[in-house]
Symmetry: C2
Subunit: 190 residues, 2 copies
DNA sequence: AGGAAAACTTACCTATTAGTAAGTTATTAT
DNA sequence: ATAATAACTTACTAATAGGTAAGTTTTCCT
């Protein structure tokens, strides 16, 4: 038999993330994951009892990841624009692969999800929103950014531009995403 | 037997639209429709051979609807802000029922759809985008609106704010949508 | 009134989905 | 070395999905 893969669990998460961002939560199955990993679907169930548990772990992964980003940005000596760039870059990468952000993907399927997942998504949204909002308001305070809306509203505008930007890019092309990306920066530049 | 319903086809479209906006394309089945209509699922297949055909008809419905709106706005003597309001109102109504726009819903499932549907969605997007873009540029020309981006980019920003706005509202609440809606207007007001 | 066409129902089918119970193999700790 | 545990596979479910063929009922047209 082939050598045992000790990080199947992480591989499942990696593939699950890819699938949800490319096809959507209700459009992929455990069979898709097990096929790509060359294991049986029961192996996926071993690591994540049900699809709901996998989704929960996936969202938690995102939360951990954004918490890490928040720390890194705090520790860095980047200006506000640089910090926003680091954030926006993630969406640009999604766009490259015709994928959409997990928040947008889940938002579409939101009404089919159990409450536990809904709450976890809310946690993720709150984290991302406060990261963007703080970056914006701190940047404004330091004179590195300029905008007229309150920081929270400006963060909402920025977030929705990005989230729907990658969605739209799938349909009408990547140039539209690029136009949005540049306009976002112009909106907050001094 | 009960009286025959002669507009089953339109009812199917109505319910299908509701389901796709509330649950998403890959999360509803013909059984959901037939149950609500008190017919058998074969009856749904009689009117729309397959799910793909139903989706096509649904998108065509939207196209017709937006073409009508474009005509109505052209024929009206509303100012640009008033025209935008008519457009935005549609999203506000979606938000009220925890629904999202069909474009956002389909964008999430885009990579699972056959090419015929993809092309039809592109047609819809182009129509909506040109409606918004024209309203914006005409408003600017008449001095009723003011913004610094080119009209096409401003339309992209507005569209993405709305599309993701209703998505976000599902998760973080309707107040966020309201904040976005008001900010959109401020962005283009003279 | 009678026939054609429309609008269904009945009764299937096949594929897939999420999931489980029980057994097997490999790894680790003692 | 061995027992426990982790990481699987084998071999199933039951439910649902999307779909079809053939028959029945209703409506429309003449």
């Amino acid at each position: 038999m082939s050598a045992r893969n000790t990080d199947t669990k992480e591989e499942i998460l990696r593939i699950g993330k890819q699938l949800i961002q490319f096809y959507g939560y209700n459009a992929f199955s455990y069979a898709d994951i097990s096929r790509e990993l060359n294991v049986k679907n029961a192996a996926v169930h071993y690591h994540f009892r049900g699809k709901e548990d996998l989704l929960m772990a996936l969202i938690q992964n995102y939360i951990d990841n954004y918490q890490l980003l928040a720390q890194q940005l705090k520790a860095s000596n980047l200006k506000a624009i640089g910090k926003l760039d680091k954030f926006i870059e993630r969406y640009s990468m999604l766009c490259e692969t015709n994928s959409i952000c997990i928040i947008g993907s889940i938002a579409s399927d939101f009404n089919t999800l159990p409450n536990s997942v809904k709450e976890k998504v809310t946690e993720l949204i709150n984290l991302v929103m406060s990261l963007v909002e703080q970056t914006l308001s701190e940047g404004k305070r330091k004179g590195e950014l300029a905008f007229t809306e309150v920081a929270r509203t400006q963060a909402l505008l920025l977030m929705t531009n990005l989230a729907a930007g990658v969605q739209l890019a799938r349909i009408s092309g990547k140039k539209d995403y690029e136009a949005i990306r540049k306009a976002i920066i112009r909106q907050v530049k001094v």
